[in-house]
Symmetry: C2
Subunit: 160 residues, 2 copies
DNA sequence: GCAATAAGGTTGTAGCTACAACCTTTTGCT
DNA sequence: AGCAAAAGGTTGTAGCTACAACCTTATTGC
């Protein structure tokens, strides 16, 4: 089985994407950690809860929306719970399930934190791209997500 | 200071990019871990060494090319050294510096591992994009890298 | 010349994630 | 009904990364 290697164009695109994968998470994490003692993933969990009805979601649904495994989410939510940012309670309809809800303190915290985070995203992503490039980026990442997560088990943000 | 929030187009592009940041590393890592007991970062270190003259680079240069901090690289190289994949030796020109060199076993290992890794990259990135999108991706990631790493301290893969 | 500072690396450790094991409740089958 | 399998979560732990502290050798300033 002979390998088809990457040509120059393919290699450049891939190397740059790999560099972004390596560097961008650190940039996001360090702003949030400095300004709010949060990781980007923790922020994202709070953001998804804040947009949900009653600021509540089942753990499984929350894991999907944050593109994470359930064990990872479980650990993160426990830490957020210890900090008074979220609370967990059993789901009435299904005794197996657990609901996670953003507390009042958590709601206050994400409202205080969001502006700085959005500014960071603008600074490094939105503002450095043209509107056309932004649309291209949505299409490109949509295609990649479709192949990385074919069954749509995780986030559905890439679905039309 | 009032915040300018993200509109729908901006939000979609960013949510999808964030999902890729979260999911793609795991896909790459698990293929390499399964087939070669390597993380993607370890593979990348080996790849950069394999393309260098004498398969040797100074730690600082290697850290730059792999978009990593020196402490992280130092730990990784130590583990690779324990496995006989790389070797370290003092740099003759500068007594402070350390050189890292890919061993014969390391060279053999990356040659054996590369086809599977390239196939994974093709499957999830290259093959799901058109040639135009690939060029767009290179430009977009280039712009992001320029803002994330303005001084060009790290990788120079984004420079024209 | 010789401190002071910078450059190049290594090491220790806290904290986060992946993976596996486990428990409980629900669903499906017959 | 009753039992097997699936769904929903949690917990334990190994391993990797970030951050800070530290050591050694070069370079700079005066």
């Amino acid at each position: 089985m002979s390998t088809r290697w990457l040509d120059d164009t393919e290699m450049t695109a891939w190397l740059r994407l790999a560099a972004v994968l390596e560097l961008l998470p650190g940039v996001l994490d360090s702003q949030l950690r400095r300004d709010a003692e949060l990781t980007h993933y923790e922020y994202f969990v709070m953001a998804m809860l804040s947009e949900a009805p009653k600021r509540t979601l089942r753990m499984t649904a929350l894991a999907q929306r944050t593109n994470a495994t359930l064990p990872r989410l479980s650990h993160v939510v426990k830490r957020l719970e210890d900090r008074g940012i979220v609370e967990r309670f059993p789901c009435p309809e299904d005794a197996r399930a657990t609901n996670a809800r953003l507390t009042a303190a958590g709601w206050k915290k994400i409202r205080a934190t969001a502006p700085g985070h959005v500014a960071t995203v603008r600074q490094h992503i939105i503002n450095v791209l043209t509107p056309e490039q932004l649309a291209q980026l949505a299409d490109i990442t949509g295609a990649i997500l479709k192949s990385v997560d074919p069954e749509g088990n995780l986030s559905e943000v890439y679905q039309r």
